[in-house]
């Protein structure tokens, strides 16, 4: 048996920085290199942490919440939340009690009832886009679409969507290029505003009180036999904001970049909308936005590497989904790919609670965009600007409509 490696072993050290703008365009190559040399690598950034890049290892972490706690899922440790984000930063058994309350709110059947409204929102935005020959897809669609859907779902004012996007961007990205301290500062300031807004919404609803939207259900929600506290409701809503906006934004934008650059693939979607469901799964695999962390609770050997209690480990879902031992042609986009057991929504207890909503949003957006705008292309003079962070995304995406390469 070969000797265990540990945090000091020179051959598994990496300078991987999940917030570095320098690798936003090349992160899958970076993951592939790490997977080849040291699939469980050690980075010195943010006080030192591990990075796993193999599908099987990431799944092993996700399925073992006793060893790999999600009590803190961010690197560095805070994005401005006041207390644990619920339910993602809660471990079993409490986690399961919260999920029993929240799962039905995002169930496939409840989401299916929203489809006409989601389709209307998509078409309103496309109407506005089509008034121009060139748009920034991020501002014109990718941001607005998930935030309007979120507000509709919550029963809140759709006009607050710009404010929501600003908060979500700030909390996810901090202040790009600034110091870690400065980024934490702006995140915390944005989070304070978010909590104040949520507080107002809760107070309003507590007074009027007869709606059947998610806000009302949460206010009336219970944890076993007691009512949820306002603190709990706030930290559930905070997670909805972080989980529901930037993720879909990035997924839409990455998909549109690929499809703009590959007109022959786009044409498949235009010609056969029946391909959309598998296309959505494939784009989720190919660009998986989310890279959470876990906290190691007891000494554990992962793929020959000794992790110690108290360590933190990053598990980029995009790295799992480009593992050539599961996907031999991982870097090829195949809209009919089967099987495709990707981990874009994670796995184990914390499987993304909004995954059914996200799929519906992506399916409707893919269908409507390609029905109404079969041709689009990038602007070679203004290429898209991507960003990394724990939710990979796109800052700007200038797009010519009605033209193809």
């Amino acid at each position: 048996m070969s000797e265990l490696k540990d945090a000091e072993s020179p051959e598994i050290q990496t300078d991987f920085d999940i917030h570095s703008p320098d690798i936003a365009d090349t992160v899958y190559d970076v993951y592939a290199e790490m997977r080849g040399k040291c699939p469980v690598a050690h980075s010195s950034h943010y006080g030192g942490h591990w990075v796993a890049t193999k599908y099987d290892n990431i799944q092993e972490v996700l399925k073992n919440p006793t060893v790999f706690s999600s009590e803190s899922v961010n690197v560095p440790g805070t994005i401005g939340q006041d207390g644990p984000m619920i339910p993602i930063e809660v471990d079993p058994p409490d986690h399961g009690i919260y999920r029993k309350l929240i799962n039905p709110l995002f169930s496939p059947k409840r989401m299916a009832a929203l489809e006409p409204q989601i389709r209307d929102i998509a078409n309103e935005l496309i109407d506005e886009m089509l008034e121009n020959k060139q748009v920034d897809f991020i501002q014109a669609f990718a941001k607005e679409f998930p935030s309007r859907v979120f507000l509709a779902l919550m029963g809140w004012n759709l006009e607050d969507s710009a404010q929501f996007n600003h908060w979500a961007d700030t909390i996810v990205l901090g202040e790009p290029g600034a110091s870690e301290e400065r980024s934490t500062e702006v995140r915390m300031a944005a989070a304070m505003e978010v909590y104040a807004y949520f507080g107002e919404m809760i107070d309003e609803r507590a007074e009027s009180g007869d709606a059947e939207d998610i806000t009302q259900i949460l206010i009336n929600g219970t944890f076993e036999d007691r009512e949820l506290t306002q603190f709990e409701v706030l930290n559930i809503l905070f997670l909805f904001l972080i989980g529901g906006l930037h993720t879909v934004q990035g997924q839409l934008a990455h998909s549109v970049i690929y499809l703009a650059e590959h007109p022959e693939v786009r044409k498949q979607l235009v010609d056969d909308p029946g391909l959309v469901p598998t296309a959505v799964e494939e784009m989720l695999r190919w660009e998986s936005a989310v890279c959470p962390a876990r906290v190691v609770k007891e000494d554990y050997v992962l793929d020959g590497v000794q992790l110690k209690a108290g360590d933190k480990i990053l598990i980029p879902f995009g790295a799992a989904n480009h593992d050539t031992s599961v996907y031999p042609d991982a870097d090829v986009v195949d809209l009919t790919r089967d099987p495709n057991p990707h981990l874009a929504f994670g796995a184990g207890n914390h499987r993304c609670v909004g995954s059914h909503l996200a799929r519906l949003e992506l399916r409707v957006a893919f269908e409507e965009l390609h029905r109404r705008i079969p041709d689009y292309r990038l602007d070679p003079d203004n290429p898209p600007e991507r960003h990394l962070s724990q939710v990979k995304g796109v800052v700007s995406l200038p797009l010519f409509l009605g033209e193809s390469i």
Partner: protein
């Protein structure tokens, strides 16, 4: 003919099964998969096999009866 089963301790409600094989699986009120019928036609059996292979939790098993072989 194939009879599917879902290990409820492993299923985490991804929903791939009832999307791929709606004749065999449905969603419960929380979004977890439930088996609603046997796969009888070749098309349903193929869909069931896709569901098995696309499940990120590997929570689905199925047994084929000899009758169709």
């Amino acid at each position: 003919m194939s009879q599917a089963s879902i290990d409820r301790t492993i299923c985490k409600g991804h929903g791939r099964c009832y999307m791929l094989a709606p004749a065999v699986f449905d969603a419960d009120d929380e979004g977890f998969g439930v088996v609603i019928d046997e796969a009888t036609t070749p098309g349903d059996v193929a869909a069931l096999e896709r569901a098995v292979n696309n499940c990120p939790e590997r929570a689905i098993a199925f047994a084929s009866s000899a009758a169709t072989h």
